[in-house]
Each structure stands twice: as structure tokens, then as C-alpha cells.
């Protein structure tokens, strides 16, 4: 599902990740922890092919980083749902339009979209807020909207990059619970966080990333 083979990536100004080897099986819920600047986001970006490794191979759902075309990258991303710390919701569209966006990208028929959006919003507890703009929602609600946008296309993998970074403890806990609920449907989830207290004791594998080097905790 997600496989890293001797992957290194360096930015111009310093190291990103160094000689990573990692494998996450289908349906696994994995945590990735590490302090700020340790390379968590770099690792995530390598998974959704926003970055391509300098050395080594990243293999995601059968797509190999060394055999990618621009079209393949788009295709590979359609099976990945992403949740970001800064939400990346479009401020000029309401909640319905934001959540429906992946379905338009995938070419869903207009008539099938409202039902699916309603379902996704209900799952994250935002039903009834379809017409709200992102700016009218709290941080926790925006993050849940971001999650709804990620799950609406029923992805095989969900990547959550510091999704609780801007949330209070209660909202953070609720979000992890939500991710666990989604995981129960068989979705592979990789969540990055620097908050160890939030993820410990959940019975999931935890990878620790420090200075670009990965180890199992």
C-alpha cells in the first residue's frame, strides 16, 4: 500500500528525509510522530508525490515514484485523501462546494453529488452547515470539513498531516476518534503529529521521525 525503499530527499537548504524504509499495509492506522522540522511533512509530500525522492523508491497503491508521469500523479492522488493542519479549504466557496470538489474532479454525475456530500458531512457532524463559508466555521469544524472532503471520494489512503495542530485538546481528541471511525471501514490512515499524548495507547504502530531518520517506536 505505502512503501518506502531507501528514500532520501534533500531541500536546497538542508535535509528533508534520509534513507527511509517503511511499509504500511492496507487497512492499517499508523501514526508518525516527531518534532517540528523533523521531516513529517516531507514524508507526507513524498507519499502524495508532491515531492519525488532524490534516491530510493516510493510505492503507493502500485504507483512507483521513479515511473511517474504528470497524469499518473493526478491518478495516484485520486485514491488518497488529505487532511492538512491549515485545512486548505477554499474561502470563496461554501462547505457544500468545498466537500463536493473531489467528486467533480473524479467526474461524478451532478445528481449523485448532493447525497454523497450530505453523507460525508453527517459523518463528521457538520450536517446543516452546507451553506456556511469556511471563515464562518470554528477551527475544529474546518478541520472536520477538511476530513469530509478527504473521505467523500472513499480513498484507499488518508494522510493527515498535523491535523490537530491548530485545534484545542477536545477538538483534537474528537478528530482522532473520527479518524478511527473511518479506519474501521478499512481505510489506510497515516497521521502525523507532534503530540505524543494524543496518540499513545491506541494500539496502532507509531513511527518516529527525527532529523530525517525514521525508527519504529
Amino acid at each position: 500500500m505505502i512503501e518506502f525503499q531507501n528514500v532520501s530527499y534533500a531541500y536546497n537548504k538542508g535535509y528533508g528525509v534520509n534513507n527511509l524504509n517503511m511499509s504500511i499495509d492496507e487497512g492499517e492506522f499508523t501514526f508518525l510522530i516527531g518534532p517540528t522540522g523533523s521531516g513529517k511533512t516531507t514524508l507526507m509530500r513524498l507519499i502524495y508525490f508532491d515531492l519525488l525522492p532524490d534516491t530510493g523508491i516510493v510505492k503507493i497503491n502500485g504507483y512507483l515514484s521513479n515511473k511517474l508521469t504528470a497524469r499518473n500523479i493526478s491518478k495516484a492522488r485520486t485514491s488518497i485523501g488529505m487532511v492538512f493542519q491549515d485545512y486548505k479549504l477554499l474561502g470563496d466557496r461554501n462547505l457544500f462546494e468545498n466537500v463536493a470538489l473531489p467528486l467533480h474532479v473524479l467526474g461524478f454525475k451532478g445528481g449523485d453529488i448532493p447525497g454523497r456530500v450530505e453523507e460525508a458531512l453527517e459523518l463528521v457532524g457538520l450536517d446543516g452547515k452546507e451553506q456556511h463559508l469556511p471563515g464562518e466555521l470554528s477551527g475544529g469544524e474546518q478541520q472536520r470539513a477538511c476530513l469530509a472532503r478527504a473521505i467523500i471520494k472513499e480513498p484507499e489512503i488518508i494522510l493527515a498531516d498535523e491535523p490537530t495542530g491548530n485545534l484545542d485538546p477536545v477538538a483534537s481528541f474528537e478528530l482522532v476518534r473520527l479518524l478511527e471511525t473511518i479506519h474501521e471501514t478499512g481505510t489506510t490512515i497515516l497521521m502525523a503529529s507532534h503530540n505524543y499524548n494524543l496518540i499513545k495507547g491506541r494500539g496502532c504502530p507509531i513511527y518516529e521521525l527525527k532529523d530525517g531518520i525514521l525508527r519504529v517506536r
Binding site: 488529505m82 486548505k88 470538489l101 454525475k109 451532478g110
Partner: protein, 290 residues
């Protein structure tokens, strides 16, 4: 089909979502197109104005006192053959007397007892040529006729008009080239700025797996839509300007020139704006795509 319809409506909706950006873009494009349109209209009408002014050029040829009306007809026939002469009309002695009476209210034969006014001719020059007209060669040739007493013409004025026409027509292509280039740059950069203000949308679309075409198409549609609104607004503005100028010319001057607006200018502007907005929005969206 659903995807294409979505992208089409997205392109149009974006203009409404970003009203301020859209308004600024339409305004900038309108100004640029209006200036180019005015320039093209001026270019179209320059020759018309010159044609009108040339119709006012008049060379008066006075024959010697003893030249009879019949002999003058022969001389006029020779004048007509000179290169650059359009018409030559005889003013017989009797006609000259009538003109004198019309202008001064007196019958000259009653005062002097005879008609001293000579037979003359009014020569009009060819007004259709595109290159500057020179009357001196015509005058020189008429002077070679020994039965001609005097020639009167507005030499300085004609030369001034023709020289200015030459100056304008020589520089016009360069000047309009610069203006069009500036307009193209304004349109291109306006579209680019409009796309730049929404680079987060491009990034988000890419992250959820949108293809490059899916990302670009709404921007292209939006760009063309903005361009079309601008060019549609420019059309009445240019017609209004031409009508306003015609109103001022006919009411506040003695000129009887009627400026026209050639619809091919609008078609030309239409094509220009579609091509530039298409290329501009395509390139701008591409530059923010990874």
C-alpha cells in the same frame, strides 16, 4: 459531459465569486481595448479626413484678357490632361461677372462700361491617391501655357496638410504597434494577476487529484469571459465616441466630415482579446501548476 459543464459553470461563477478582481480586470481590459479601438478608428478615418480636405483644394487659373470662351475650352482640355488633375471647370466671362455681382452686389459693366473679368478655370486635384499630393508640378505645367495670366492656389496650406498626413501615415504603424503591445501586456498581466490571486485553488485542486486541464479550464473560461465582457462594453463606447465627435464637428465647426466606425475594428478587437485571454490565462495557470 458533467465534468465539462461543471468546469464551464465554475469559470463563469468565478467571475462572480471574485467580483472585485473581475471588475478590475474588466476595467483594465476595457481601457486597453478602448485605446486600441480608438487608434484603429482614427487610422480608418485619417484618409477620410484627408479626402475631405483635398476636396477643398482649389487652383484658380486666370487666362489672359483676350482669351475667348472657346479658346479657354481648349486650354482647359489641356489642363485636364495634366497628371494629378481631377476636374477643371471653365468660368466664362459672363459667369465671372455674375459671381462678382453675387459677391459685391454691383454689376461691373454698369460701373466700367465693359466686362474686364477674364475667362478663368477652377482646377480640382485628384483626391484619391494614398501618397502625399504635390500641387507644384501641376502649377508648373499650367504655367508653361502662354495664354495663362495668373494662377492662385493655397500652396502653403496644401503642403502643410500633405506633410502632416505623410508624417502621421509614416509613424502610425510604429505608434499603433507600441500601443497594441502595451494593451497586450496589460491584458496578459491582468489575467495573470487574477489567476495569481487564486493560486491556493490551483494547489488544492492538484492535491485532490485534478488533472492539469481540469485546473486550467475554469481559468481559461473565466479569462475569455472577462475578455468578452470588456470587448462587448467597448463596442458601444467606441460608437458613442465616434457619434460624439461627429456631433461636435457638425455643431461646433464648419467642417462637413462624418467620421465612421468600422465594425471590422470591433471584430479585430474581439479576436485579439479572445486570443490574448486564452493564451494569458493558459500560461498563467500553467505557471502556478507544479
Amino acid at each position: 459531459m458533467d465534468k465539462f459543464l461543471y468546469l464551464l459553470t465554475e469559470g463563469v461563477k468565478n467571475t462572480w465569486r471574485h467580483k472585485m478582481t473581475t471588475f478590475t480586470a474588466i476595467f483594465s481590459l476595457f481601457i486597453a481595448l478602448y485605446i486600441v479601438g480608438l487608434l484603429a478608428t482614427a487610422g480608418n478615418n485619417t484618409y477620410k479626413v484627408l479626402h475631405y480636405l483635398r476636396s477643398k483644394y482649389k487652383i484658380e487659373v486666370f487666362f489672359k484678357q483676350d482669351v475667348s470662351n472657346e479658346e479657354a475650352v481648349g486650354l482647359i482640355h489641356r489642363i485636364k490632361k495634366i497628371k494629378g488633375v481631377r476636374t477643371a471647370t471653365i468660368i466664362e466671362k459672363e459667369d465671372a461677372m455674375r459671381i462678382f455681382k453675387d459677391q459685391f452686389g454691383e454689376n461691373i459693366t454698369d460701373i466700367l462700361g465693359y466686362n474686364p473679368l477674364p475667362v478663368s478655370a477652377v482646377v480640382n486635384v485628384d483626391r484619391t491617391r494614398k501618397d502625399p499630393l504635390r500641387v507644384e508640378p501641376i502649377i508648373k505645367e499650367i504655367r508653361t501655357m502662354d495664354r495663362v495670366e495668373e494662377i492662385r492656389y493655397q500652396g502653403n496650406l496644401i503642403n502643410k496638410i500633405e506633410m502632416n498626413y505623410k508624417r502621421i501615415s509614416d509613424r502610425f504603424p510604429y505608434f499603433s504597434g507600441i500601443i497594441i503591445l502595451i494593451a497586450v501586456l496589460i491584458i496578459y498581466n491582468t489575467i495573470k494577476l487574477s489567476v495569481y490571486s487564486r493560486r491556493d485553488l490551483i494547489q488544492s485542486l492538484q492535491l485532490i487529484g485534478a488533472t492539469r486541464l481540469f485546473v486550467k479550464l475554469p481559468f481559461i473560461i473565466e479569462g475569455i469571459f472577462i475578455g468578452l465582457i470588456s470587448v462587448i462594453l467597448v463596442f458601444p463606447a467606441l460608437i458613442g465616441t465616434v457619434k460624439g465627435l461627429n456631433y461636435m464637428v457638425s455643431n461646433f465647426t464648419s467642417l462637413s466630415i462624418k467620421l465612421t466606425f468600422d465594425t471590422s475594428v470591433w471584430i479585430w478587437l474581439f479576436t485579439l482579446v479572445v486570443v490574448i485571454t486564452l493564451i494569458g490565462s493558459y500560461r498563467a495557470a500553467s505557471s502556478f501548476l507544479k
